[in-house]
């Protein structure tokens, strides 16, 4: 199939970007979206141009590297998948496809479609863990976890930290990401001792990194490749309110 690509090109973090048109001709429909870009890039290189840069690694939807906004929707309009899992059979010959980076103030563009998502790492570093020194753990079956809690916790832990939630949000809020991590750890008995500290620290770091506020539109949930429920945002708000109250009393 033949496609017209409208791609965001940007030389560097401080340069201004623009949309450039690239023709993608003779693309097999079995190819993945990123393989389509590979084909285009190989031709650009042969023709003496600079290839379109984009982050990618595992190409099976789990590492969270790929981060394209396709026709205005992070990871494309298909639900429950990442950009690398999008296949060209979803498009038709002659289509025009707009490809942009994950946009947010907290995710500065490095080049073309590559953005810096290290703000997410700093949120986790501030509290997104359970402090357990290696070797200090009790037997794994010493603490049973209720099946429903374990399942709920697991569903939140499925987050791959891709940042689509932020890119989809008009406020560039990271509440789904932070809520997922809080819910993963706060629900488990192992995570209980640090629950308040974790919740307060992650939310404050999130605010400090320049992510916006949540206004409950749930665009984040709609684009999340792991289909994490926006319930985690409500739970985060509850845990944050309780932790703030306890902090004020202390």
């Amino acid at each position: 199939m033949n496609l017209t690509l409208k791609v965001w090109r940007q030389e560097g973090p401080s340069e201004s970007g623009h949309i450039k048109t690239h023709e993608a001709e003779g693309i097999p429909e079995e190819a993945s979206f990123l393989e389509m870009l590979d084909i285009v890039n190989e031709r650009i290189i042969i023709d003496g141009g600079e290839p379109i840069l984009f982050d990618h690694d595992c190409r099976e939807g789990i590492c969270g590297s790929c981060s394209l906004t396709i026709n205005g929707v992070p990871h494309s309009k298909d639900t429950g998948i990442t950009t690398c899992q999008v296949h060209m059979r979803r498009y038709r010959d002659g289509d025009t496809i707009w490809i942009e980076p994950f946009r947010a103030r907290a995710f500065p563009i490095l080049k073309d479609l590559v953005v810096d998502r290290s703000a997410f790492d700093r949120i986790i570093a501030s509290g997104g863990y359970i402090s357990v020194r290696t070797g200090a753990a009790p037997d794994a079956n010493a603490t049973p976890v209720e099946f429903e809690d374990a399942t709920d916790s697991f569903n939140s832990a499925a987050c791959i930290g891709c940042g689509a939630c932020v890119a989809a949000c008009k406020n560039a809020s990271a509440m789904l990401f932070v809520g997922a991590k809080a819910n993963h750890l706060n629900l488990l008995p192992q995570g209980a001792p640090e629950k308040d500290q974790r919740t307060l620290a992650m939310v404050r770091t999130m605010d400090g990194e320049g992510f916006g506020n949540c206004t409950n539109q749930y665009e984040c949930e709609a684009v999340c490749p792991k289909e994490i429920s926006s319930d985690v945002i409500a739970k985060l708000n509850r845990d944050y309110a309780a932790a703030s109250a306890r902090e004020a009393v202390d």
């Binding site: 560097g12 097999p28 079995e30 190819a31 993945s32 393989e35 590979d38 890039n41 190989e42 290189i45 042969i46 003496g48 600079e50 290839p51 840069l53 990618h56 690694d57 595992c58 190409r59 099976e60 939807g61 789990i62 590492c63 969270g64 590297s65 899992q85 296949h87 059979r89 490095l110 080049k111 590559v114 998502r117 290290s118 790492d121 986790i124 570093a125 997104g128 863990y129 359970i130 357990v132 020194r133 290696t134 070797g135 200090a136 753990a137 794994a140 079956n141 603490t143 049973p144 976890v145 099946f147 374990a150 697991f154 832990a157 499925a158 791959i160 930290g161 993963h184 750890l185 192992q190």
Partner: protein
Amino acid sequence: MASNGTLNPAIPEGPLADKWTNYKNKSKLINPANKRKFNIIVVGSGLAGGSAAATLSELGFQVKCFCYQDSPRRAHSIAAQGGINAAKNYQNDGDSVWRLFYDTIKGGDFRSREANVHRLAEVSTNIIDQCVAQGVPFAREYGGLLANRSFGGAQVSRTFYAAGQTGQQLLIGCYQALEKEIHKGGVEMHSRTEMLDLVVVDDEAKGIVVRDLTTGEVSSHAADVVILATGGYGNVFYLSTNAMGCNVMAAFRAHKKGAYFANPCYTQIHPTCIPVSGDYQSKLTLMSESLRNDGRIWVPKSKETAEKIRKGELQGNDVPEEDRDYYLERKYPSFGNLAPRDISSRSAKEACDEGRGVASTGLGVFLDFRDAIDRLGEDTIRSRYGNLFQMYEKISGDNPYEQPMKIYPAVHYTMGGLWVDYNLMSNLKGLHVLGEANFSDHGANRLGASALMQGLADGYFVIPATLPNYLASVDPGKITTDAPEFKTAEAEANARIEKLMSINGTKPVDVFHREVGLLVWDECGMARSKEGLEAAIAKIPEIRKDFWENVRIPGKADGLNMELEKAGRVADFIDFAELMCHDALDREESCGGHFRVEHQFTADDEAVKSGFTGDGEAKRRDEEYCYVSAWESNGPGKKPTLHKEELVFESVELSVRSYK
């Protein structure tokens, strides 16, 4: 022991089951006040590197950790699907440390080091405890206790799992521990940073040269010890289940600086991957081995039926029961569809070579859930494998609830790696190697759910205990980047980049990667022959020459340039392919993932006549080849020098590996 007498595996004295305990009782310690004086470099942030960096920082050492990804959370350990083994015996089905040890030794076709494997089995139980305490959400039963499942090569259920995302959950646990230490200041993290060379001062590894992938800046880092946890070399084959960025550069640079590379020909071809569909393809996708718990593998009995399926005239479900050949169940009745990976992969290749393949390319077999769905219902199958089925449907466009999946083997894991002793230290002093990057635990074939176990064992429990034995002899902070060796290494790294940028040829990097990958897939893949390997060794220098004359790298070196990154990696893959073929040529036997067509059982062999094994099975030659091949580099294009570590089996008897 070794040909030049230097390869000492440093295995502790005493009975096998006591070695690790004895070792820890006698190993040297560093007092808490002194620990902070030591600087440790960890390259790689996957399960092995991430767990090592976090744990060493917790102990009080100063750690610098490097990864090429934009975040340590994206290391390729994340993609492991199925599970992690541990000898917990929570199922009361007869498991024990000994059984896990024995299954791993046997699974590795008796080509791994007994003492290391036993230690791995011993610490396996601690790993599960550690991960659960970190909040890793393993699957649980309704009573709230941990669930288990079965994996290939074992007759007990000892695999812990988190749906099809076990690697992700373990890595996130490890990443969170790492981030905690970064926040406390114990670990200085360098993401989007690639190691370009190892720096050796007075015959000891004392630092690395790296390139900041965002700015292009090349710089040096000195330390008292260097730990490589940089994963495997599966991407030498171009198409593999590895992430696109996985590479052999760090390990191969160390090899060129004097570290021996052990058993590079031991590569694992995973039996259940989605078949190749076209030449634009960039990678292959694994379908977890756990699917073989309920899926049945088959091809049609007749070539004619297979041909109709290939042409699309017939669907898998249309083939009546009596025309199907469930070849694993037929050939290996006691393990059936859970036969080890090497055996399952080779059987699939044989079926397709006979013209009975079912994918349009002829290279594919069925993995069929029809019977499991009839027995358990679609809902149960969905709860067990839902995400895998969804992934399959997205990629292939077929619905596996209605038609059998089509699968074919693909390169997945590499058992070979840098040679290490019991301390996980290379022959090059100060260089320690963990996880898939070393060679020590899986022999010639790795069992499912053992890679995660090894990565975390090495990082959480082994290296923290063994490193002080080396550090006790080191004067901390003595070597700095002012040493001339750093200047030289940095200059060489810069010169290599300049050379790559100045070629300005006509062919993109991927062209060369595909060419060398296809060559080793054909000649050093699932079946290898003397003739083929010699042809490959003759061909590789041509590819290398072509690369260094005709590669085209666009843009500049002083910023983000992914083609330049790839070029450095592919240049090393070309040289590494040569080493791999030399090793495969030297090993005149078949064992595990290394199948030499000249060495297989035939109908004349006693073991076949007695029914113990079958015609065409891999034939080891224990008298001549029960050793680890550790190769010393003599530079590209020159035959490397072989050093041998004889494998001594004190506790198990070497036997023909039968899964019948």
